[in-house]
Symmetry: C2
Subunit: 414 residues, 2 copies
C-alpha cells in the first residue's frame, strides 16, 4: 500500500482561519455556545460540506459529517474532537483534531479513495465544560453517559443549557436520541496536541496514547460573614477568603507533599461581595484532582473533606465540598495503538507510548467503541494558554498519521 499524505498547506490554512474566530489579545475566547463558538462551528460545517460530506446536527448539538463507504452496511470509522476553547485558551486544543479529520477526508477525495467503511467526522459540543461545568457534554451524550445534572444545568448568567443547546440546533428534551449503539462505529480516532511537555522534550513527533486520566471535580462553598474591613476586629472575623486560601494550599499539598494523586488544581474562584473594604462573606471554588487510578482520586476526595472540616473548625467558616463529577479513566485499544505505531513507521516518523494527562472526548466514546488517540508535541508543554503552540509540521505529521491509521483500520477490520 502506498503512503498517503495530506496537504500540509491546506491543513494549516484552515487552522489559521479557525484560529482567527474568537481570537483576542488575551487568547482564544471560543467558549462553548458563545457567538465565537457558533461561528467556529459554522466554519467547520462549511468545510465539511465543501468536502462533499453529509452533515447533520444531533440533539446534543454534535456535528456529524458522513462520507459513504463502499461495502453496504459496515459500521463507520469515526474521527473527531471539539472547537470550543477554555477562556484565554489556545488555537490548537481541539481544533487540530477536527481540522485534521476534515483534511483526512479531503485527502481521501483527492486520492479518489473510497473506503470500505463509512467515515465520520465528529465535532462534539462543549468539550471543555467552561460553561455549565459539564464537560465532554456532546461525547457523553453520544456515548449514553449523560447524568441528570447535565439536563438541568444553568450557567452563571441564569441561562439553561437547554436554551443554549436549542440555539445551536440541539434539543435537550430529546437529547437521549444523540446516543448511539455499540456496533454503529467500529473505531474512534482522535488527533490532539499533547498539552504537556513530554513529546516536546523528547523530540519524538508522535505520541501513541496508552490511556486517559481519570478526573474528579468539586464545587466548594466557603461561607463566612461579610463585614466592614475597617471596624471588624481581626479576632471577630469569619473571613471566607482567608479560609479559602488555606484550602487552596491543602489541594496543592494533597497532590505534592502528601502525594495522594498525580495533580490537584484550584482553577476557579469567586469572591462575594468582592469589595476591597469588605471582609469576604462567601467564596466559591472549582477544584479538581486527576490520576489514572480512580481509587486514588477517591482517597484524595476523602482527604479534601477531612482537611476542609479542619479548616472550618479553625476559622469558623462553613465549608461545603460537593463532588461535581468523577470522570473514569479510559484505556485505548491495543490493536488500534499498534496501527497508529505502524502508520507512523510507514511515514518515517518516530513514535512513543504516552499517557494522556488531560481528558478528551475519546474517553467518553470508549463506552461505545474502540478508541485510539494520536498526540503531537506542544511547544514547551503549554496549553489552555494564549501561548499554546504546535508547529505546522507537527500538525501535518499528526494528520498524516490519522490518515494512514484510518486506511489501515479500513483494510484490516471486518
Amino acid at each position: 500500500m502506498a503512503v498517503a499524505r495530506v496537504d500540509p498547506q491546506r491543513l494549516n490554512g484552515t487552522l489559521e482561519s479557525l484560529g482567527n474566530i474568537g481570537s483576542t489579545p488575551e487568547g482564544m475566547q471560543r467558549i462553548a455556545f458563545s457567538p465565537a463558538d457558533v461561528d467556529g462551528r459554522q466554519f467547520v460545517i462549511d468545510l465539511m460540506q465543501q468536502a462533499g460530506l453529509a452533515v447533520r446536527v444531533d440533539t446534543a448539538g454534535n456535528v456529524i459529517a458522513r462520507r459513504a463507504g463502499r461495502d453496504g452496511e459496515r459500521p463507520a470509522i469515526a474521527m473527531g474532537s471539539h472547537v470550543d476553547t477554555v477562556p484565554s485558551g489556545g488555537r490548537y486544543d481541539g481544533a487540530v483534531g477536527v481540522l485534521g479529520a476534515i483534511e483526512v477526508v479531503r485527502s481521501l477525495n483527492d486520492l479518489d479513495v473510497v473506503t470500505r467503511h463509512p467515515v465520520e467526522v465528529l465535532v462534539f459540543t462543549n468539550e471543555e465544560g467552561t460553561r455549565y461545568h459539564r464537560w465532554l457534554f456532546g461525547s457523553r451524550a453520544m456515548a449514553g453517559l449523560l447524568e441528570p445534572a447535565d439536563l438541568e444545568a444553568v450557567d452563571s448568567e441564569g441561562v439553561s443549557m437547554a436554551e443554549r443547546l436549542k440555539a445551536i440546533g440541539g434539543d435537550m428534551v430529546r437529547v437521549s436520541e444523540a446516543g448511539r449503539q455499540k456496533g454503529e462505529l467500529c473505531a474512534y480516532l482522535e488527533l490532539h496536541i499533547e498539552q504537556g511537555p513530554v513529546l516536546h522534550r523528547s523530540g519524538i513527533p508522535v505520541g501513541v496514547v496508552t490511556g486517559i486520566t481519570g478526573r474528579i471535580v468539586f464545587d466548594v462553598r466557603v461561607i463566612g460573614a461579610a463585614n466592614h474591613a475597617g471596624t471588624t476586629p481581626m479576632d471577630a472575623r469569619k473571613d471566607a477568603l482567608l479560609a479559602a486560601s488555606r484550602l487552596i494550599q491543602a489541594v496543592n499539598d494533597i497532590a505534592t507533599s502528601e502525594g495522594m494523586c498525580r495533580v490537584g488544581t484550584v482553577g476557579m474562584m469567586t469572591v462575594a461581595p468582592n469589595a476591597v473594604n469588605v471582609v469576604p462573606g462567601e467564596v466559591g471554588l472549582g477544584a479538581e484532582f486527576r490520576d489514572i487510578d480512580v481509587k486514588r482520586l477517591e482517597d484524595a476526595e476523602r482527604r479534601l473533606n477531612e482537611v476542609s472540616q479542619q479548616i472550618a473548625a479553625a476559622t469558623g467558616a462553613e465549608i461545603l465540598v460537593k463532588r461535581e463529577e468523577l470522570g473514569q479513566s479510559a484505556t485505548t485499544s491495543g490493536s488500534l495503538q499498534d496501527m497508529v505505531v505502524a502508520a507512523a513507521q510507514r511515514l518515517g516518523l518516530d513514535s512513543r507510548p504516552i499517557p494522556s494527562g488531560a481528558g478528551h472526548d475519546a474517553q467518553a466514546m470508549a463506552a461505545i467503541t474502540d478508541i485510539a488517540m494520536v498526540f503531537v508535541p506542544s511547544v514547551d508543554g503549554l496549553s489552555h494558554s494564549p501561548r499554546e503552540y504546535t508547529t505546522p509540521e507537527a500538525c501535518a505529521d499528526g494528520a498524516n498519521v490519522l490518515l494512514n491509521t484510518l486506511l489501515m483500520i479500513d483494510e484490516s477490520l471486518d
Copy 2:
C-alpha cells in the same frame, strides 16, 4: 434653651423608603453611579426640595442643599454623608447620616427656627469607592484632595469616571471647581452607624468620635503562567492563585501574629482565566491595612513588599504591589466633641468617646473645616453586610444629637 427633638417616625419612614431603593435578597446594591444610586440620590433631592432647601449639584456630583441663615454672610454649618453602598451592603451605612441631616432641617422648619448660620446638607459622590477604587471621591473633591488617578479612573467595564460623573450632573473637566475654601464652612457634622461592636456591647447609645483611622490600599497583581490543569506536572507550574493564597495569609499575619497594624484585609480577588481545568495564570487582589498611626501603615507596607518578594521567589510567580492610596487619619475638633457630649446630656443620653475604625467623608472635610462625628450602635457590630442593623430608636437618638449639636454650634460660634 429648650430641648429640640426630631420626628422619629418621619426619620425612620425615610430610612425605610431609601432602603427599598437598590434592595435585593443579597442586600443593598446601591453601588456608586448605578441606576439604584441615581434613584437614591433623586429620592434625597426630592426630600430636600420638599423641605424648602435650595439644591444644587457641584462638578463632583455632590448634592449641596442650603437653608439660609439669619445673620448676613456667616459661614455655613454643614451636615452630610453618602447614599452609595458597597455590594451586598446594608441600609444604614451613609443613609442614616444623610436622612438624619434632612430630618434635622425638617425639624428646624417645624420649630420655626432660623439659625444664625446657613445650614447645608451634603451628599457626597462615591464614598465607598466600590467603583473605581477611588473612595471619598466627592468629599475629597470638595476638600481639594483629588489626585491625578481620580481624574483618569476607568472601571472594570471600561467606562471612565468622567463619563459616569457626567450622567449624574458632574463635570470631570471642571471638577476642581467643586473645591471649597477654608472659611466657607465653620463646621462639618456627620452622623453614622458605628459599623463595629463597641457601642452595641457597652449599651451606650451615643459615640463621640475622637479620630478617624488611616488606611492604605493596594492593588496587587500576581502573574504566573496559565496552563492545562491535567497535563502540567505539579513541579512545572507557576500557579498564580497558589501564590496569591500565600499572600492572603501574609496580609492576615501582618495584622495578627506580627501585630504591625490594627487590621489587614484582602477583600477583593479576580482570577484569570478562571476555569476549573486551567492552572490560574493571573490573579488580582485588593488589599488594605488600617491604623490610626500612619507610620505603622508604612511599616506594614514595607513588610507586605518584603513578603511578596519571598513568595515570588518561592513560587516563580511575579508579584507587583502597587499602593493605590494612603488615607491620612483625621482628628475631630475638641470643642465640637464637647458640644456633642453636651447635646447628648441635654437629651438624657449616655455617650462615650470612640475612635472610628472606618473611613468617612468627614476625614476629607477635615482639610477645610472643623469636623465632628456622632456614632450610633450597630447591632452585633455588623456592617457592609445585608444583616447591618441599627434600631429605629438609635437612629432617632443620633438625629436628636445632631440637631442639638447644630443648635449649640449655631449659638456659640462667631
